[in-house]
Subunit: 736 residues, 2 copies
């Protein structure tokens, strides 16, 4: 009896949809019939397409004919039911693709059978028993994962659309999709209408289901928000989640994650509503986002690890495969992508994926790396919320990248790290950002979630290569406050110059202390590697304690000062704000005006040389204290602690020399920097004299006027220096 | 006046040599004229030969025409004069090769000019100012390095022999060579006559100079010792430095180093005195030595790091390139070497090198890895000083290798590690040997020498995966005592079997405690990876403290017991014998009969499951305490401490599951071992029952009778077990 009622209801719904006039040809969401035909033709002749096809076929064939479990939701991330439902949506999409590519109905039937099970399960679901967030899921513990399910299930439905009878469609739409879509758009509507990457997934899910099921209501909500007013939905996300040059405000690790639903949904929209020209929107913002994500990777493809990030993630991730393949189709062939595509060694079975694989096949001289270049990213939808500068030097394997971060907070995954720097060289991390503490998807480790040490250590200021004042993190570690502010970029000159410069001022991280940092990457003539000159000013009315760490990775080789190791009993550096997680392995009091510390990373030497103002304490530390579940890595840091009112911290990072343990040959293992002296430091100007290889390097900057045309003149030690623009660098009295 | 006298003296000497009838055709030491002609012809057609030639040519051409420094010896390893003299001997050899291969006399002249400088310098030298060892060098701080110089300078002389006038030859022989050879053979004669790898170099140097300068006296001393009685020299080294199946007693890291002078000198002897059939000696012992070294590498080519070893060294080292290329010539083509040669990507410019490069060119399907197999190495010249068993399972990237070490001490580079095990899996170190503490050739780190922590930590028993009794190292850490003893192998069954076994007994490491360890590598049907079952018995009359560490590499994932982390203040585990270098990060008292500890290494999970006898303490530790110069790595260990008289430590290492952080998919992250119980433990038999995946695995062994034909019968829990041979393994009552 109930069944009969349902049936009529369903038929009515289906008729209604069709009367509405939104019926499309299918497939259309992931790929069109014409594109599918093209891919099909190439499977046998293109090895990478064949391989990608075989991978999918092998995985689906392994479960064909088996009764596939659609369990009642129970476990958190990494647990059985979580992984099973994740497997299922991938399986449905893959089997749908196989149906299209082979024409074999067994693949369509597999998808249909699974859909019928979800059509039974989904209407029964309430909030997931393991839900802890403010946006609980139903099939999964987080609504975000349910959105993932909607995206892939929607694509799968579209792929088998024409195989299903109208009644079957109606049954699936009502049972499997409607409860999820209604939950998103009617129950957790504020979450659905956020300008946030989770909502991008939610809109993609609802929108793709809309396109797959010919439901224009869904599509409109997904494009323009639940109220269809354009204040939410895909269009608002495209306008509000990236800066004008494609920076995504949670940082590169999350850019990777964020671009996937953007590309998948925009691709479906582009097929269904080409008139929207969605990929052209905002000066091709999706291309800029993808390129920005790639530009922020290390040579091994790993995303820069600032903000919450897992270092294991690289651009071979599925998200970037999909985005790159779609970009290839909609934005045209791009040789810059080929080194990435080659490393991915996998393509989507789409027109773009085919194009990429053909290019890989035809191109005999693919560059070894993505064509990394120096770049300044602005942050904020209007580009006025600070930014990130990447100063680069060298080519290919020899690339040096200095990342200077003066962006806004970055939502819940942001760190308290104003004016932080990170350094990569030769494909290695040299001065690191810890990233996040998390074992993604390993159930034993807190269900695969972010571990508590992410908040208590990794996000705290002391875990970063920037100044902590009075042992308190920036904004006292309060996200809501940090979200309101960002440092101000003062000047940037980055690119193919002998001196690259980036300077920024923060006036909000501490109420009574301003932080002003200028980074110069100087190509010294004749040297293999650049010199990083770091002028870090603090401006305050009273005395404070300034801790400036260099979270180096490597082995201690030498110092020019004596230190005491705490050999038999070790204490923490402090008791809160991240300090409780840091062991004090060694400490020193230095009065000498000049300290050097050399370490070895892989086969290269790095020396941090510093000017010491009056006296300072130096600590060699290691993370891992108060870590009851062994969640933290044991990582070293070199921290200089100064008590002062106004301070000018002068540090030089020298990249030098080579150690080859196989041939047992060592070159240039000693630093060439022999002295660093401040030559001016007042409200108007700061400057340093650095002796390197016996030569005098002078760096002078204005602290107030940053216009490139403004003329400056100052006299130091009887010598007059005059220049135009915010700074000048001399080597032996010759401007660089 | 002096010059004139010298001249007549020289002529007389040269005449004397020629009258002696030892004049050879040159070149003959490294390569013959016919071989050179063959290589020459192939430079233009063989890319790898061309590349190797170009490398040498580029390096030599860079200094051609410059005045090359031959400085007065002053610096230790890694210092300027050390590196310069090392550069010089390589340069002389390379330039000599170029003279032969191009016929251009400018290369010969470069060598001659350098020789003339050494002919002036060498007669003036006394012991090196930085010499600290009992065998001081002259050009270098160690005589060993002087021997290196003699080898390459000898080869270089031979290459330009015919370019030099008799007078020039005499001048070089008298000035450059004679002081060094006399120093070796007349002053530090006991060192020259040792059966030791340093003396192999010394003999190679003297012998090659002999062959190059037609001095049969030198050659005889080099072949048969300074007394020419066969008790020293190359022949004694061939007979005494390797076990009958090619094991070199300092371990694989030093095998690499040891084989080079053997191959270089034997190669020269083979050219000059083919009638000696030196490469056939002792059942082709040099081939066995090379193969043994390769067999003891990880998938990345890194030598197993037991005994003093630097983990950075791999088989792409020059030593192995030279040995492999000569072996190819004298022992014939060998496909097993090709994966190694491919990784080396370099050949010697000799007939063997040419053969290797041609094989690389022609062979389109080179295996990805050396064909590793399970192997039992005996130790000692007669093979009766214990040994090392390598138990392997799996193929290619999936290879699992368990190394069980019951060899003799291994000279000055040996560790106090009787019955140690190491585990490698998927090309990663899982249970490690620390190796040595050393930054080779980095002057700032103690002149590149072994660091004091090598002795105080790395060589101590607690740094190894074997039992330390009462916090004292084996043999109380006294090398002279350890050198006298070795464990006794009880049985070995290794190879392509479902159960591989190796068992050994040590009765000397401790006066009152015997150590008996049996390792079983069990391929469980249906499982991807093998199970390692480890029965470690101690036999004593009184109670002792037994510490058994597992020096795992990885992240702590979970335990089945609670532990206390020492979060804010950390102490060392002890105060001597290596314990002073170990931080106690966490500890636990366990009374449960069964403990498990799971860790993640790269993308695989490993679980150590243990039976606890009564109660035990467990420590999670980390090296790096009392390390005043940051010489030690910070490495974790999992140590179980038991107080008992006789103990049967039952441990199972399970290799399971996979974690892919890129696809975010985790499989089998939980151990399948749910119980371990001793079922018998007395003087006659020991045995364990292990429940894995719900199935009962029984391991039984005889403790007294090891003959493969001896029948055994015992009854456990009413079930009777009977078998032949030293052990039996049942799965669910079925013999494996």
């Amino acid at each position: 009896m109930k069944n009969t009622t349902s049936f009529y209801l369903i038929v009515a719904l289906v008729l209604l949809t069709q009367i509405n006039g939104y019926a499309q040809k299918h497939p259309i969401a992931f790929s069109t019939a014409a594109d599918i035909a093209l891919v099909k033709k190439n499977i046998s002749v293109n090895p990478l397409v064949k391989q990608s096809f075989d991978e999918i076929k092998t995985s689906v064939d392994a479960v064909l004919g088996k009764d596939i479990d659609v369990p009642i939701p129970k476990d958190a991330g990494g647990g059985y039911t979580h992984d099973k439902h994740k497997d299922n949506y991938n399986l449905m999409f893959n089997s749908g693709m196989l149906f299209q590519l082979t024409g074999d109905v067994k693949y369509a039937k597999l998808v249909k059978d699974l859909f019928f099970k979800y059509a039974v399960l989904n209407p029964t679901l309430k909030n997931h028993p393991q839900a802890t967030s403010s946006s609980p899921g139903r099939i999964f513990w987080q609504a975000l994962n349910d959105a993932n399910w909607l995206v892939y299930a929607g694509l799968a439905f579209d792929l088998i659309h024409d195989y299903l009878t109208p009644a079957e469609r109606a049954q699936i739409i009502t049972g499997a999709f409607k409860p999820e879509v209604d939950y998103f758009t009617k129950e957790i509507t504020p979450w659905f209408d956020l300008i946030h990457n989770h909502a991008v997934w939610a809109c993609a899910g609802v929108g793709i289901v809309g396109i797959a099921t010919d439901n224009e209501d869904y599509v409109q909500m997904a494009l323009y928000g639940s109220k269809k007013d354009g204040k939410a939905g895909l269009t608002a996300h495209l306008d509000g989640l990236f800066s004008p040059n494609g920076y995504y405000n949670e940082g590169p690790y999350y850019t990777r994650y964020a671009v996937l639903p953007f590309f998948l949904f925009a691709n479906a929209v582009n097929h269904a509503k080409p008139e929207l020209k969605i990929f052209e929107r905002r000066n091709k913002i999706l291309k800029q986002a993808l390129d920005g994500a790639l530009e922020q990777t290390n040579l091994d493809g790993g995303f820069y690890s600032y903000n919450d990030a897992l270092k294991e993630k690289t651009y071979i991730s599925n998200e970037i495969v999909v985005a790159l393949n779609i970009a290839w189709e909609v934005y045209g062939a791009n040789a810059a992508y080929l080194p990435v595509a080659k490393a991915q060694n996998r393509v989507t079975l789409s027109k773009g994926g085919l194009g990429v694989s053909q290019a890989l096949l035809q191109n005999k001289s693919i560059a070894p790396f993505y064509p990394y270049k120096s770049v300044v990213f602005t942050d904020g939808a209007n580009g006025n919320m600070g930014g990130v500068s990447v100063l680069r030097n060298g080519k290919d394997k020899n690339l040096t990248s200095l990342i200077f971060k003066y962006s806004s907070h970055g939502l819940s995954h942001g760190h308290y790290d104003k004016l932080n720097i990170n350094l990569y060289d030769n494909g290695n991390e040299i001065l690191q950002d810890y990233g996040a503490a998390r074992f993604i998807n390993i159930e034993q480790k807190y269900g695969g979630r972010y571990l508590p040490e992410t908040k208590s250590y990794a996000q705290q200021t002391i875990a970063h290569n920037t100044i902590t004042v009075d042992e308190k993190s920036h904004f006292n570690g309060v996200e809501a406050v940090s979200e309101k502010h960002n440092p101000v970029p003062l000047y940037n000159k980055v690119g193919d110059f002998a001196v690259q410069a980036s300077s920024a001022l923060d006036t909000n991280a501490y109420q009574n202390v301003q932080l002003h940092r200028s980074i110069y990457v100087v190509a010294i003539p004749g040297a293999d590697k650049p010199l990083v000159v770091d002028l870090f000013r603090t401006i305050a009315d009273t005395e404070h304690q300034y801790d400036l760490p260099f979270n180096y990775i490597g082995n201690v080789i030498s110092t020019n000062f004596k230190y005491t190791t705490h050999g038999s009993a070790m204490q923490t550096l402090g008791s809160k704000n991240g300090y409780q997680h840091i062991w004090k392995e060694a400490s020193a009091k230095v009065k000498a005006p000049f300290t050097t510390f050399t370490f070895l990373n892989n086969q290269s030497f790095y020396t941090i040389s510093s000017h010491v103002q009056d006296s300072a304490q130096v600590f060699f530390t290691r993370s891992g204290a108060n870590d009851p579940n062994f969640n933290l890595r044991r990582e070293p840091s070199y921290i200089t602690r100064t008590r002062a009112k106004n301070m000018l911290a002068l540090n030089v990072v020298e990249l030098h020399g080579n150690f080859n343990p196989i041939s047992e040959i060592t070159t240039n293992s000693y630093s060439r920097v022999s002295s660093i002296v401040p030559v001016v430091n007042n409200d108007l100007y700061s400057g340093a004299e650095i002796i390197i290889g016996g030569k005098r390097l002078i760096v002078l900057q204005s602290n107030t006027k940053f216009d490139v045309k403004t003329a400056h003149q100052i006299t130091i030690n009887g010598i007059s220096y005059s220049w135009e623009g915010p700074y000048v660098v001399y080597l032996e009295n010759k401007k660089l």
